[in-house]
Subunit: 480 residues, 3 copies
């Protein structure tokens, strides 16, 4: 057990050791101040309470009781029309909460356990996932609050269920990037990355939603494409210092089973991810049905491809990841009219594409010095691009894309637009997303290099930053 002791010594002499707690503490204090000045609770919609409603209607009836009487003098008394006193409703806990909790589980359990496949990096996988997600929730509430919801009269932004769902979406983007970097960063680097990426992801989404008025209900561009290519760009910059430790990058039997916990929760709750903020009614039903069908199709095509590629043997890494590609690929058009058969086709292509990615593209990228630990290009990147392309194609068919529903009053382009114009804006959104993600990721990568561990032995190893139990130094986990 000389080696762990030796490593402890190495770590102890790390001059950056105090950076992490101090940085995080300062940020937390800043967050408290910003929340104190500018945040407030949102409001629940007045629930449609039978009691109140009938009372209101009774008044309306009473108000109309005397009128329209044919008076003895032959005239008719015409009262004023009954006014509608009700404003447009928004959505509250009863509409959104159950989907919110599904999404919350996806972020903390789904992503967290999906990444536990590395045999010596389980604490870090699930632990850093937890740290990143909790940090991003706070930071994203602030960034989104200022960027999307700031009321200049009260100088405050509201927090309600829809906003906490959105904060969870932002966390998904950052966790995807983390997947590309899994095993190669220290916690300080991760916090720095969160700060930058949340801001850039939000700017990008603001451009896409408010400026270009693109549709992307499941956030396949804003979350999946952005997160994947941002992460890959960071990884490309960090590559040089990485020493391959292929043995440590492998799973063991039980780490693969832990990972399946993540996979299956992501699978189950993906309809909530894609339908979480869809418009109530048939839009939301379509988001659920399309996702349910598309992601099932990607499961089947993953099993087909994995079996073919493995000459009769399945690979767990495919089953853990590529099975979910259908959820990503249907995301941009999940609430549109693509019909169940369309969802089935999109999911089938996604599952195949993703398995091909894991089998053939991942090793090629590694040769190009872009190392992608979790294969986020295969699960999030390429299926996200597929989603964007499906969106562009569908935008040319307004009867199916219903694209004008997305032209909110806050859209800078008015409320009318041709299908071809929408095609352009969807494409522009994809373009800007890729640009901001890649350029932002490269810059972030260079910043993170300033903070990196010089000792590459610490890669893919919990022992560097975690107190590990004695069995961690056994044969099974150590050096097969």
């Amino acid at each position: 057990m000389g080696r762990p002791t030796e490593q402890k010594a190495t770590t102890a002499s790390d001059p950056l050791k105090l950076v992490f707690p101090i940085l995080l503490l300062v940020l937390q204090i800043v967050f408290v101040i910003l929340f104190a000045f500018h945040s407030n609770y949102g409001h629940e919609p007045k629930t449609l309470n039978e009691h109140d409603l009938i009372a209101k209607i009774s008044k309306m009836i009473t108000a109309t009781r005397q009128p329209a009487v044919y008076l003895p003098n032959g005239t008719i008394y015409e009262p004023t029309t009954v006014e509608d006193p009700v404003s447009v409703p928004h959505r509250g806990i009863n509409d959104l909460y159950s989907m919110f909790q599904d999404i919350h589980v996806m972020i903390f359990i789904g992503f967290g356990f999906l990444m536990t496949f590395l045999k010596r990096y389980g604490y870090s996988a699930v632990g850093y996932n937890f740290l990143i997600a909790a940090f991003v929730l706070e930071w994203a509430l602030l960034v989104r609050g200022y960027m999307f919801d700031f009321d200049t009269s009260t100088r405050q932004f509201p927090i309600d269920v829809e906003r906490i769902i959105v904060a969870d979406f932002v966390a998904a983007a950052i966790l995807i990037s983390f997947g590309a970097l899994l095993g190669k960063t220290n916690p300080t680097q991760l916090i720095i990355m969160c700060i930058i990426e949340v801001a850039l992801q939000s700017v990008n989404e603001w451009i896409g939603l408010r400026l270009f008025c693109a549709f992307d209900i499941g956030e396949s561009m804003f979350v999946h494409v952005f997160g994947a290519y941002f992460g890959l760009a960071v990884s490309a910059v960090l590559y040089k210092t990485e020493k391959d430790d292929e043995e440590k990058e492998k799973p063991i039997y039980h780490s693969d089973l832990f990972s399946m916990i993540g996979t299956l929760f992501l699978f189950c709750f993906w309809p909530s991810f894609n339908g979480g903020v869809a418009a109530a009614g048939d839009s939301r039903l379509r988001a659920v049905v399309n996702t349910y069908i598309s992601i099932s199709a990607s499961v089947l095509l993953t099993y087909i491809c994995s079996n073919l590629f493995g000459k009769g043997k399945f690979e767990m890494v495919h089953i853990q990841n590529a099975t979910l590609a259908g959820g990503v690929a249907i995301g941009t058009v999940a609430d549109k009219i693509v019909y169940p058969a369309g969802a089935l086709v999109v999911g089938s292509i996604a599952g195949s594409l993703s398995t091909v990615g894991f089998k053939y593209i991942l090793p090629k990228l590694k040769k190009l010095k872009i190392h992608d630990t979790c294969g986020v290009n295969n699960l999030h990147g390429m299926p996200g691009l597929l989603a964007a392309i499906v969106g562009i194609i569908l935008a040319s068919m307004p009867a199916y894309s219903l694209h004008e529903n997305n032209l909110l009053s806050s859209c800078f382009h008015g409320t009318h637009r041709t299908g071809l114009q929408q095609v352009g804006y969807q494409a522009a959104t994809l373009g800007i997303t890729l640009s901001i993600a890649i350029v932002g990721g490269l810059i972030t990568g260079f910043i993170l290099r300033l903070l990196e561990n010089k000792n590459v032995l610490t890669y893919y190893d919990d022992d560097t930053y975690w107190d590990t139990p004695t069995d961690f130094h056994n044969d099974e986990l150590e050096n097969e």
Copy 2:
């Protein structure tokens, strides 16, 4: 590590190797075509939007403003009655979605992890469960669509939240059968079984619901009895080729803990399974309360029996399985008036019966050459029979069974029936369920024998069809 290599060679020469991917691919293409021609989205009910509702009522009031005036000539002007413009409401996301997601988790996480107890078959348990469930979702949507929901005018069937819940129910039946066969089939056989069993299960349920108008809200007959005895029948036919490998059929410490993940999610969400499609209102509340109480009672009786049988020591296989029997046993009458005490009694009997089954009946069945890997007879079969019997008894008391609520307009027997008649139809439904399950299972078993692996060394072993990590060949997992 000679053995795994040797096995690889064996597998590589398997002439059926390409059957799996080609069969599954062809089926997926057929599914796309069928979905394209005949499926469409269902519709969300118009949500009870206060805004719209008040607008509608305003119109109604306005329409009644002039009338009923006592005219100068002494007559009274009588307007036409206000018509009710609203059709019978159906249920949408706000009613069904949260229970749907619970059921979805039961299918993929619950069943999936419950079966991971075998020490060398964890990938297959959770992986085949995933494959089967995803395949069945698609196939069941089609079969159910054609059989139950096909609209001959539009030549389409709708897909909505209630339909995807039902597809999940069908998946449960097939996964129960899979439990009986766990470790003894190859993936091609499983897909063939899915194709046949989904069709037969749906025919049986159509007979039970539409022809016999039986009640079975938690699908204890249609899912649990059917799935268990279909699977046991298949297992009986497959038995001859099975070589006992008792060592491999055992759990290890951590595989038992993985299995408990499945158990506990099944426990928690069983009220959603039994209440998922119950009629809104008090019926649904009863389904939830009865299941909550019944399944808790089966937990307690399982601990009592396990402790007694083990002379002071609990057995994990009981805790993992028999604890859930109360959910099955209350299923047929979950939404009926059995009172909390009735649910407590039913659950207590179920937990005892199931533990007895694991301890004493399972080994006997094995001697009869019916090998039941997961003990589905004990968790699903016998408690399902108990549920059916409870249903038959309750049917004789119409004040508690409310059986006429089940006589829908689609029932071929009109909307009235005596309690005794209902007793007969409940019994007939159990009889037809057992008959179709057993005969169908036997036939399916003979078909599956055509596709079986000749090499019985491959049983209960992930190495046959999965890429396994190096620790899979360690002492702990290999040959204790």
Copy 3:
């Protein structure tokens, strides 16, 4: 493998062996009788069905059609006012069910897996958690039914979704006490403890809610403080017979990952715990938002403190537990107006306090012969005290505490009260909670000593009461 056999012999000679199954069976029979005599289903609120509602309104309109006519004789016919036939609504499945299921998962998966960290006590941790929770659900329904909901005219108490949520809350309290005792009790002792603690916890909550009319929406006093100090009191009495077996009290690598499953589900669903029974509307939204923010803050402060205390290394026990302290600490005021920044501050203090507790207070308590296996003082005790103090402070500001909302018709003090009075009642509730918990725990501890195992080798070891697999006696789990 001599030792297990030897232990079996020891166990076999345990004279108390039959006490467990007989006691539990007798209790179950008593429960059946009590449920049969005194329980019934509650009712779902009439759902706001558009169809029924419009029919009702049509009648109202028709009823007002003839009236208010200016009659030829010059008089006006005045009909009676339209009566409101609707009673005050209560809440049903659509309001409560999704949060109920979240809480249910917290109890069975969350608490269950959180306690699996001990390397040789996983079966017991998750298994006894299951047993205790199922037992408490039944027993708490009865105790609460008689104490809070008994209708003296029908001589029955109702069971509905709100009541089963409350039974789950009670289970949480008992499971917290179990956490303090983890590894040191036999199942008979646990059942005895359940019987006593459920009764005392309910009496205490009745005093707090009905007599003192304190607010404590997330049950930080009634569940967390009570459960923690009750358990610690029991533990203090049991201590003398405990032989330190520090090696067995340690985790191994994968047991720590199982434990994280519990942590993350508790984290995700805590907003449902604190908001589950909050008043519909803005109160409930605040409960969700405050908890979401507070518990995220405790995650961050835990990472900060753990890193600082560990000189750059995180400890899993902190990450598994202290991260959740923010959920406890905001509990008492979760539905009040503390603003997001207030929640952030409370959660930050809680996370720090809890990590300090694990690092520095836990070992001190052990020296005082109060042994706290799971560290419930740190996760539930001290953060619960913090919650109570925050509640006392907030009570002095009625505009933010809205304390009069808690003065129900059932409150013995009328419906008005000053802020200062509320401060007193909040403090009194904390005082009575601590008193009943500690005195009750001490007495329970002395009772449990009558039933204790004399053989302390059985501590922290599944082998005593569970059939264990062969790998349980391997080096890794046995004696590192």
